[in-house]
Symmetry: C2
């Protein structure tokens, strides 16, 4: 510190220097916060959009499930002439599956593949001599979507060890 005849001014200068450094620091922090906020927001926006998409798509799954249940029932009962209506509704069912795929949620109703806890929910185990244990032998309710974008796993029947095998 210089020895000057104007100690007040000198002190003020030192204070000002401190203030300048502090203010510059604050300003830079605020700029960094601004930048972080922008980046965070871009990520959040995409995440929120995806969450909303999944929420709305999920709301429709019970409608599609019931449409399929009604169709399955009608097809087992084809002694009645529900043929033309059932045909039309199969097309509606397919259309719904295309809508879901278009939103990023592929349908999964494959059988004969190994059980995968990420994609399957085993609701029944059944002895089956024709396939290795742990194979999906029937899909009771299809799954939709994969990984992060999974709406729900497929509910399946899995082959169990045959007794005595």
């Amino acid at each position: 510190m210089e020895n000057g005849p104007v100690p007040v001014d000198t002190k003020s200068t030192v204070d000002d220097e401190r203030t300048v450094a502090e203010l510059e620091d604050r300003w830079r922090r605020a700029l960094a916060d601004l930048d972080n906020l922008r980046k965070r927001y871009a990520r959040e926006l995409e995440r929120e959009r995806a969450a909303e998409r999944a929420r709305v798509a999920c709301a429709w799954l019970p409608v599609l499930d019931n449409l399929e249940l009604a169709l399955d029932h009608a097809q087992r009962d084809l002694s009645h002439d529900s043929g033309p209506l059932a045909q039309g509704l199969l097309a509606v069912r397919d259309q719904a599956i295309v809508v879901l795929a278009g939103l990023g949620y592929e349908r999964h109703d494959e059988t004969g593949i190994p059980f995968d806890p990420e994609r399957h929910e085993a609701v029944v185990a059944r002895a089956d001599d024709h396939v290795p244990p742990g194979t999906v032998i029937e899909v009771l309710r299809p799954g939709y979507g994969d990984g992060d974008r999974q709406l729900r796993p497929a509910a399946v029947v899995v082959s169990a060890d045959t007794p005595g095998a």
Copy 2:
């Protein structure tokens, strides 16, 4: 400006004061920007969420339309025994309407009300002696949602002036 024996210091002090004021100003601006950005993001997030909701809900409307077309067709043709299937599918149709209402998109298929260009799209005009001109006399395709949240207007038949009236 004071007359002091340390002119360099004095100048520096003045510069520092300017810098302090400028930096403080910058810092405050950055904070204000941060605050504005936060508010803007909150609004934008809600708007984007609503847009995604509408987009996904809209994707399902053709599915519901086709389900209804198939049902209408079957009901006109009830000489055939598509009864049980049609019954089941009416329930599915109602379920879909409840899903849409739950997402904020009420169904609009009222007749006997005045034509409203905000909510109706007139696709046919028909002479009708029993109602005033400009009345919705038939809904060809229901509308969903209101105001900002309208997914689509209802496509309607509107009563025209009767010739000679």
